[in-house]
């Protein structure tokens, strides 16, 4: 028996060794056995560049290809004489109520260019898994249409289009390289573009809003609060009086927010929006909210700053005096919505349109206010440039045999205002209409349509965020906002304008780091974030004092916040030096 066991053990050990040896050798062979990539001419691979390379756009060499462009810059159509087909993996939006045949710009582009897509639609909820499997198995389509979050891990299987853009997509090349190099910085890895982003210039992306019920204010005889002390008095009046006028002085919730932990979007609807009132912004690489900010060129970790401490003390004062909704740390957006639409909430730190929280009836009484003034200056994060930016959405793979045609196809979709509108919003009569002043306004009549909202109409009729659509500053000028949308947009101008004076001047520049540094930061933040969410909630609910603050500093030290800040400082310095 013993002998048998020994033999069996020996066999198993041999098998393990053999398996280990095989896996080592196979991993070494993987790249060489993969299909050869039709790499762009002279394009260095990411692997060749271990150190952070320049994030600055390359100098454009040569002009548009004469094979595809006339001397006046117009595209020679059709691009191909015989129908050419490409396999495309498409991230289908949940709001998309139709099929690919409903996307007018694609049909138009098929007809004009002679290129056709064989689209494989993948539901958004399965997109990340599918993309990972497809890359891992090297069963690559020609093109991915949809955001690839971890593109940095797959750059060796994606085509480096940096040098091809001026030749085959001159409009886009000019946009990325010359007009908005910051966008290039955000999209590129080590100075090379492996994908293209969707961009809307001047679409202000600040998601936070300070919203207060003016009818309640009138009922308690008070004015719009301007300072944190004013707000404190207002909230007390909301608590003590029958502010909503329903005869019950005890059903008012002075201030409500939703739990911090909503996909780590801590600032969007949560209590961390208060950082803006206390002179801080919640910043990070490529718009991340990683609790860091640059101040006089130095990266600081805001939760260790005195301003953060003062913010927590103030919020604890509100909480301990029953001015904050006790459900705030656990409730979902829909719970808050139910209370707000029932006229139970007087003030909220929220995001988006007023109607998003307060419903149609109460919204008429709601006004945006600026972050109240504290002993510190106000600060608001702003994007650089002010733009809606979805990175890595149009990705050509190394499996594509004619990548230039896919670049030309995207270039066609971005050529001219009409095409750009079709790409992002769809045709007139769907999500939008022309008004009497020749401005685009949102449509509201969806009778007999498969879609029921503007969001659904856009997702159904346009590629929307699934292609590298561009809306220039001039294009955006043709859109008109009415009603609550107007109020919302105006509030952004107020926040960032003279009245608000809060646009923070040292926002973290857009740009990517090396894969190693990005992964390291991400791992560190996962731990830091969990700790901070608990710490903030604990501090607001149970108070904070010097002893707790010192313990907090020790905890941060254990979480290697110092290393996290150092990592960010290195990236910041690198990106700033490239800006000159």
């Amino acid at each position: 028996m013993k002998k048998k066991t020994r033999v069996l053990s020996a066999i198993l050990a041999a098998c393990m060794l053999a398996a280990a040896a095989t896996s080592c050798s196979s991993s070494g062979n993987e790249s060489s056995s993969a299909d050869p990539a039709p790499a762009a001419p002279d394009a260095p691979s990411a692997a060749d560049n271990n150190e952070a390379a320049a994030q600055t756009p390359p100098e454009s060499t040569g002009g548009p290809s004469s094979q595809y462009f006339n001397a006046d810059g117009s595209m020679i159509l059709p691009l191909v004489q015989e129908e050419t087909r490409f396999r495309v993996l498409w991230n289908k939006q949940p709001n998309d109520k139709g099929t690919m045949a409903d996307k007018v710009i694609l049909n138009q582009a098929y007809e004009a260019t002679g290129i056709t897509w064989d689209v494989e639609e993948v539901s958004e909820q399965g997109w990340d898994e599918k993309v990972s499997v497809v890359f891992a198995s090297n069963d690559l389509p020609d093109l991915f249409c949809g955001k690839i979050d971890n593109l940095i891990n797959f750059t060796d299987q994606c085509l480096d289009v940096t040098d091809m853009l001026p030749e085959y997509a001159p409009y886009m090349a000019d946009f990325y390289f010359n007009q908005y190099p910051a966008i290039f910085g955000a999209e590129a890895f080590e100075g090379r573009m492996y994908s293209m982003p969707q961009v809307r210039v001047n679409n202000i992306c600040y998601g936070g809003g300070w919203e207060i019920n003016t009818r309640w204010l009138k009922n308690v005889g008070m004015e719009l609060p301007e300072t944190i002390d004013d707000l404190y008095e207002v909230l007390k009046a909301f608590r003590d009086q029958d502010a909503n006028g329903n005869g019950d002085p005890n059903d008012e919730i002075p201030y409500s927010f939703v739990k911090i932990d909503a996909n780590n979007k801590v600032g969007e609807r949560g209590v961390t929006q208060w950082m803006n009132a206390f002179g801080m912004i919640n910043d990070g690489a490529n718009k991340a909210e990683h609790y860091i900010m640059a101040e006089d060129g130095k990266i600081i970790f805001t939760p260790l700053d005195q301003r953060f401490y003062d913010m927590l003390v103030y919020l604890n004062k509100l909480y301990s005096e029953n001015l904050i909704d006790k459900d705030s740390f656990v409730q979902e957006v829909t719970d808050q919505y139910a209370k707000a639409t029932s006229d139970k909430i007087g003030f909220a730190t929220c995001g988006g349109l007023i109607t998003e929280l307060w419903g149609e009836t109460v919204s008429d009484d709601i006004e945006y206010i600026l972050p109240p003034k504290s002993q510190y200056d106000r600060a608001l994060k702003q994007s650089d440039p002010p733009a809606e930016l979805n990175l890595h959405v149009y990705t050509i793979t190394t499996a594509c045999e004619q990548p230039e045609l896919l670049l030309l196809f995207q270039e066609y979709c971005n050529t001219g205002f009409d095409n750009r509108v079709l790409s992002l919003f769809g045709p007139e009569g769907g999500a939008w209409l022309w008004n009497d002043e020749e401005k685009m306004v949102n449509n509201s009549d969806f009778t007999d349509k498969p879609y029921a909202t503007v969001a659904q109409a856009r997702a159904t009729l346009a590629p929307n965020y699934r292609m590298a659509s561009i809306m220039e500053e001039g294009d955006e000028g043709k859109r008109e906002y009415v009603g609550f949308s107007l109020k919302y947009n105006q509030s952004h101008k107020d926040f960032y304008g003279v009245a608000g004076g809060a646009a923070y001047g040292e926002c973290f520049p857009l740009g990517n780091d090396t894969a190693e540094n990005t992964a390291e930061r991400s791992e560190m933040f996962a731990e830091i974030s969990t700790y901070l969410q608990n710490f903030i909630a604990e501090s607001i609910m149970n108070g904070i004092d010097e002893a707790k603050w010192e313990a907090h500093k020790t905890n941060c030290q254990k979480l290697n916040v110092e290393g996290f800040v150092a990592n960010y400082q290195a990236l910041y310095d690198s990106l700033m030096s490239l800006r000159g």
Binding site: L89, K92, Q93, P94, N95, T99, E120, E121, V122, S123, E124, Q125, G126, E129, K130, V133, A136, S137, D139, N203, G207, V333, T334, D335, Y337, A338, K339, T341, S342, G351, G352, L353, T355, E356, G359, E360, E388, A431, N442, S444, F446, A452, T453, V454, A455, Q456, R458, Y481, F484, S485, Y488
Partner: protein, 299 residues
């Protein structure tokens, strides 16, 4: 015949009472969430969010069901799921039952090794990527076949079937049948199968429930929307309700939809997707209870 009454001690009564109370508590804990989902799917979402719906529906509305049932993809999903469930169950049974029977036969040469090999695959398998590559190379991506076949035969089910046959089909039965001139095939179809309704029902139910709830295979191996099963369609609907559009698109209708209808859909989707399979349970229940006892008693 005189009815003899068993004397129950006080201790018995106490234990019975505790067991009874615990059973009722467990029943309530298990059944109430299902009941709540049902009443919530008919109630005003604002009342649900403010905690006013507890035992009975309030502000009765059928908007969730109107929305769900007008989705043409729902019916497509239903059709697909029914096809996958029936085909997968039949295919799974067709392999699992004979497989389990064969492995239960002592005269099956090499059954020990085969059993060990099968058991090995319960703990070690190729994983997602190699499976995907294999499916891709066999040109089975985007086919109904892959959704029917992949995963419907499990070693666990084969072992359950084998255990049943080992304990319920005695060797003497085969000997008696052989004496009467019955061959292996006839013995299996004419004698074994009629005696195995329990295990067929149990394995069938296992496979059917698994297939009904399955969505991951479709998520990975199918992109053709015509082939999507109900669970993926429902998942789409659910996520659609939860996804925040950009603020610019947040017109009043969008918000109302997002905050109210979408919440209702959440409950409606659960009812719509689970009701059919729940309806199957009562018919298979008597076999199911017997089935879970398989292998638990020796002798």
């Amino acid at each position: 015949m005189a009815h003899t009454r068993v004397h129950r001690s006080r201790q018995d009564l106490v234990i019975d009472s505790v067991i009874g109370i615990l059973s009722v508590a467990i029943l309530i804990a298990s059944a109430y969430p299902l009941y709540f989902v049902l009443i919530a799917s008919f109630s005003d979402p604002t009342l649900i969010a403010t905690g006013q719906v507890t035992f009975f529906p309030k502000g009765i509305t059928t908007s969730a069901y109107e929305y769900i049932l007008k989705e043409k993809n729902i019916w497509l999903g239903y059709r697909n799921t029914i096809i996958y469930t029936i085909a997968s169950t039949l295919f799974g049974l067709a392999v699992t039952i004979p497989g389990g029977y064969a492995l239960s036969r002592k005269d099956f040469i090499g059954r020990g090794i085969l059993m060990k090999l099968l058991t090995f695959t319960m703990f070690f398998n190729g994983g997602l990527i190699p499976t995907y590559i294999m499916v891709s190379k066999m040109h089975m991506l985007n086919t109904r076949f892959i959704l029917i076949v992949l995963g419907c035969i499990t070693v666990f089910n084969v072992i359950v079937a084998r255990t049943f046959f080992t304990g319920n089909i005695p060797d003497e039965l085969l000997e008696a049948a052989s004496i009467d001139g019955c061959g292996n095939t006839r013995f299996f179809f004419s004698i074994v199968l009629p005696l195995s309704k329990t295990i067929i029902a149990v394995i069938g139910l296992y496979i059917a429930v698994w297939q009904w709830n399955s969505y991951f295979n479709a998520l990975i191996y199918v992109t053709n929307r015509e082939l999507l099963p109900l669970q993926l369609v429902m998942r789409d609907l659910l996520i659609q309700g939860q996804s925040l559009a950009s603020s610019e698109d947040m017109d009043a209708a969008s918000v109302k939809y997002l905050m109210e209808i979408a919440q209702l859909i959440k409950y409606g989707v659960i009812v719509v997707s689970t009701l059919p399979i729940i309806c199957v349970y009562p018919f298979a229940q008597k076999y199911f209870v017997k089935g879970v006892m398989i292998g638990s008693v020796k002798g």
